[in-house]
Amino acid sequence: MKRFLHYLTIAGVAALPSAGYPGNTAEPAPGDAVAVTRRITEGQYRNIIADVFGTDITVGGRFEPDIRDQGLLGIGTSRVSISETGFEQYRDLALTVAAQVTDAQHRGSLIPCTPGSPKAWDDACATKFIQGAGRLLYRRPLDQAELATLVGIAQKSATQLNDFYAGVEVSLASMLVSPQFLFRKEVAVADPAHPGRARLDAYSRAARLSFFLWNTAPDNMLLTAAENGSLNTTAGLSKQVDRMIGSGRMSGGVRAFFADMLGFDEFSTLAKDPAIYPKYSFKAAMDVQEQTLRTITDHLLAQRGDYRDLFTTRKTFLTRSLGALYGVAVVDDVANGLPARWVPYEYAEGDPRAGILTHASFVSLHSHPGRSSPTLRGKAFRETFLCQRVPDPPVNVDFTVVQNTDNPIFKTARERLTAHRTSPTCAGCHKITDPIGLALENFDSAGGYRTLENGAPIDTSGELNGKPFADSVGLGRAIRDNPEAPNCLVTRIYSYAAGQTTKNGKDWIAYLQAGFAADGYRVPALMRRIAVSDAFYSVADTPVEETEQ
């Protein structure tokens, strides 16, 4: 296999024309997409270790925090580096993982050969392990120089320590702190089918595909398809995409995307006042995320449901502890109720809970520690599901009226916000957030149901873009029928997959949006449409030397 040119993307490269992509007349060009370098996320790190070495290898420790850019961590990962502290954390993780892989319990199954003596250097065995693990960790075969370096590290350590496995351990730890592992560096090469254009090389293509669909590194079959060139063919690509979409691992990719889009990383810093919301325990905060992700994957994958129906579905999954949070009966037939299991649950017709907007994950994440926030909820609604940008409040805003939930005059959030909006500088933004957020006021900061606030009845009526509704269920119907919601999802999911927003790519997005509608708003179909497209792998980078063979 010939090595080929790779280089990091430089912003500002010349944009490709956006009208028409020569490789597939049905597809417009994706705009000026570029090859990007992204740091793997915590979830991806954990998935890769589990895939390569097994789920019983513990990945303990902390990770460098990701940053959210333009609504997605998936974009922010291309904007981050690794700090000194972060490197120490990755080093500690690497040492822990490498020690487990090579310990007496695991070496027999994870190292594909047995050295002549555990106390002596065995070049062939070490090379075999490093080649195999390196291919999966680096998401491509190691080149000769890399292999020689890693084998040399292992040999030196093994010889000094009189321990073959200690040498392999050091070499494996080296791989796990390497930028080749920690960063997904996409490589652009000349596109032989379209002179003057570039595309991702086969391994970058495999990685983009795998992280998109499975949220992990390419498996052996995908790497093999990259190695033998079939992944660069329409048939070969389709075969791999269909294999991956048909796999149970697809749920991992869908979960990762929606967890990113819904901002679930922010749960790590979410706090609720336990005196006010005693049911919102640490476990409950974990469970509310899982509830929504289970609902989404079941609806989209198992039921092949319409994305828009996520806003109205009465079907979900609950645990006993979540049942307590919601005040509904959750009966599980497991002995003693332990371990807690997820039980399918369907709210009755007329129940105020329908759709993911009414899940505690949404209403609790976008609330304050001691009170709900129609404004935060409305802002999150517009930004998350409609891809609209709501400006931050001016720095000199007086929040006194809004924050005082004990005000005997303004008992409800609606009354407090109405008083607050008398300021013209506030009214503009609150006008677009509050009518949405107030529809969710039946749900307190922890997601519990209420009809009164400070003894006063809660008015949940509102409107979305002039369309009135009476309550949270009506809000769910309003966004379900709003064409901007699925269009936003298309934008989000492409940006997540490509690690960038489109520039000059309106036609490409419009093409995907039309396809999404034609597919009945089935998300797996949308993901497939993106994954098998030429445009998804087309980049504006201009290779200057070699062409992939």
Binding site: K272, P274, K279, V328, A329, N336
Partner: protein
Amino acid sequence: MAFRAKTTLSVLSTLAVAAMGFAAPASALQTKSYVVSFFHIATHSDRDACPHGLNPEHVELWTRSLKGLGYSQKDIDELLISQRKNGKAIQEIVRDRGLKPGQENIFAYPFSAPDPNLHTVEGRYSYGFNLDGKTDGGFEDPDTHEQGVDNNLYKAFGCLRPYHVSLPDRPQYENNAWLVLASAMPAWLLSVSGDDLTKDGPVTVTIARALEHTMQDARGQTLADSTFRIDPNPRSHNVMRGALNGGTLSIEPTDIFLEAEPHIISKLHLLQAHLRLTPKPDGNLEGYIGGYTPWFEEYWAHASNGFDAEESGIDMPGLYYALQRLADGPVDPKTGERNFISATWRIELVPAIVADPHNALAELRR
């Protein structure tokens, strides 16, 4: 505050029908269910409770026991120092201070040690109920001011240091045991059913054991509104007639049996059980449950913990003799002994969802 019917009534009724296979009651029955969140011996320890002082704490208790075994003060001092260092020096000596051959372990054979004649409660007040109908000789309930309250369990325990407390403090041993172990035992449930729980009138009360354990909330307290199934074993299923009066729930005297866990309370077995529960503004219930209970079970609930019980300041042979002496329940016609003692426990409950509450009512009607 009156009981409020759950909004989930229809859901529960449906569940009951689905789960139990018979029709729900024809009337529009309201049911409210709870799970026990705290349970301990009811104590009301004012300064008049123990006019002769409290019983010795553990060091004094050990010293007295060791002297009784012939140890010199010098030996005792050295043993106490060693005990502080290694936690073991005295353990076996005090455990095996029984005087009868083959019955040296005083936790298993408390009658093998002499009666230290523990101080018992002589004060005026105790939570509880008048079980025998007599108004002379008993306590006065500090809340209801009912006279003739029978609570000899408190009389036996109340001058032991861990039990010489009043609310909001709780008896140390039971407090700790409950906090640590309550979520590890099948929960205790209470359901109230009636035509209109917002009004005074007759109700049906079910006290039963659940299949599930309780869970904890963000404060480490019992999680409210979680769902439980009633253990189908009838042994721990008690259905009784009750009443709401001014919001306070009571029952007609009856017998109650509930399995429990040894380290908290081995079982709740009550003859002529009485109940008094009052709703709190937050929807919880609190109050008292009492009756005649087997006194040896109360002894064993503590003695089964061995040295730990005495280390908390309870002279186990002394407790054994006090309970035996104060037993005031019915006389066993076969032995002529009183195996039961009047008792009252503090009981606190939080709202819960019981999947099949109407099963109990159907059973009562049959």
